[in-house]
Amino acid sequence: MALVSLQGVGKVFSGRTGAWEAVRDFSLDLAEGEFFCLLGTSGCGKTTVLNMVAGFDAPTAGSILLDGAPVAGPGADRGVVFQGHDSLYDWLTALDNIGFGLRLRGLGKAERRAKAEHFLRKVGLTGQGAKHPSELSGGMKQRIQIARALANDPRMLLMDEPFGALDAMTRAVLQGELSRIWAETKKTVLFITHDIEEACALATRIGVMRRGPGGTLKAIVPVDLPFPRERTSDAFMRVFRDVHGLIHDEIHGAH
């Protein structure tokens, strides 16, 4: 059985400017342990889909099942890494940010600290735990966010363009680290991006979205390449070209 199952999911926003159908008839099954990249042009409804899976927003049509049970709201089984880094707690140190979920569950101080240290090391920030978010770079903050989500040991990770605001070099480094962490932990990941190369480097499957209104899945491209991915290999280039073709049609409106 799929870990997450979206069945004919739709979302209509109704606001000042009238109703806007952001997502229409979106169906997708995510298997345990896969790394699924959702790729699409800006405004096609990627964040809307992720917010519904996270439980921040309710779908207006269809249903979302987690382990067979409908998603009713946010929960500790789905860790979220946000696009911006204002989701970190400025008044806590990096280490306390990572241990925040453990504190919610009433874990003792020593145990919390040991676990947080473990995940601080995992994201390559050993020795930086005493710093506050205002003393960390953008890339470091995203690492802390990832560590915070992982430390809580969720069933799956939801990541909304986590590296979107970083420079190309930092992004490549973090992609490598995320890929390594995923290989170690085998967490199911739903990863949103509009960067084709990023999707090809990370995903086991790439879902390309059709432009809104009524954004939906247009095609799913499996990526059967070994990790770590060799970005200059012919096989990688082939996948890149396939996905690029699908996206290219989207950008230039050839539906």
Binding site: G55, G73, A76, G79, V80, S87, W91, L104, S134, L158
Partner: protein
């Protein structure tokens, strides 16, 4: 070495600030001196030296301290009372819509009635004892603190709350561990504003109805035309206000400095 350098720059920065304050005050007194001796040349505007001499005399007689302590005690009591009432109300207004609908008309109404306008009522209600002054200071504190606290709760980032929710936080944990600490800088800023209101209010209240305090000192000095005493009281007020505000800013920095770079 790096740590030493950092300490060093922080130290020198602090020294420069203090040096700047001293120079600023020296300039103020110099201009005052020049204006009084060469420009105005009136007994109604004494130069700083006789004022400081008179101030020293009053300190030696123990009179000035008495007035300062009387005023400060009232400010402290009313300010703490007002903050203790204002913070929870502000948190409730910011957190719960129905509370907002219910209480916002109150705060919007009373905040346009200045404490000075309430002096008459408070004297009728509480007499000229301590209660009326503490009431006025509390009154002037409450609304500023409420408004600033409520605004702080409203300004907590959506992602901060969502992050806590998907880490497993319940409503109360979101409130206590996210909304509340994120609001602390706003609360402190509101209290700092309220403190400067409190200084305005205490003088007005003591001018009109009191047996001691800096306001009373001003009033008596006017009655007996002790021009130097008036200036002693004014200088004392300015210095006290300055010292209180600086300590408050220091506290905000110490507690909340790393919360938010803009505080």
């Amino acid at each position: 070495m790096a740590l030493f350098m950092m300490r060093f720059t922080v130290r020198t920065e602090r020294l420069t600030t203090i040096g700047g304050y001293i120079a600023g005050f020296a300039l103020l007194f110099l201009i005052w001196h020049l204006a009084a001796t060469y420009l105005v040349k009136s007994t109604l505007f004494p130069p700083p030296l006789p004022v400081l001499e008179r101030g020293w005399m009053l300190i030696e007689d123990g009179i000035l301290q008495e007035q300062i302590i009387a005023s400060l005690k009232r400010i402290a009591q009313g300010f703490l009372l007002g903050s203790a009432i204002g913070i929870p109300i502000g948190l409730a207004i910011g957190s719960f819509k129905p509370v907002r609908w219910l209480l916002e008309p109150w705060t919007e109404f009373f905040r346009f009635i200045p404490a000075v306008a309430m002096i008459t009522v408070s004297v009728i209600w509480f007499g000229i004892g301590e209660e009326s002054k503490v009431f006025l200071i509390a009154y002037t504190t409450i609304f500023v603190v409420i408004i600033s606290t409520a605004a702080g709760v409203g300004a907590v980032g959506r992602d901060k709350i969502r992050a806590a929710q998907c880490l497993g936080a319940n409503r109360w944990q979101v409130f206590g561990l996210v909304a509340l600490p994120a609001t602390v800088p706003y609360i402190l800023t509101g209290m700092r504003l309220a403190m400067s209101n409190a200084f305005v209010t205490i003088v007005a209240a003591e001018l009109i109805a009191s047996n001691d305090g800096l306001g009373k000192m001003l009033w008596d000095a006017r009655l007996f035309m002790q021009i130097e005493d008036i200036f002693v009281a004014l200088v004392a007020l300015g210095m006290l206000g300055f010292a209180t505000d600086r300590s408050f800013r220091f506290l905000i920095r110490a507690f909340a400095g790393r919360f938010n770079a803009t505080v």
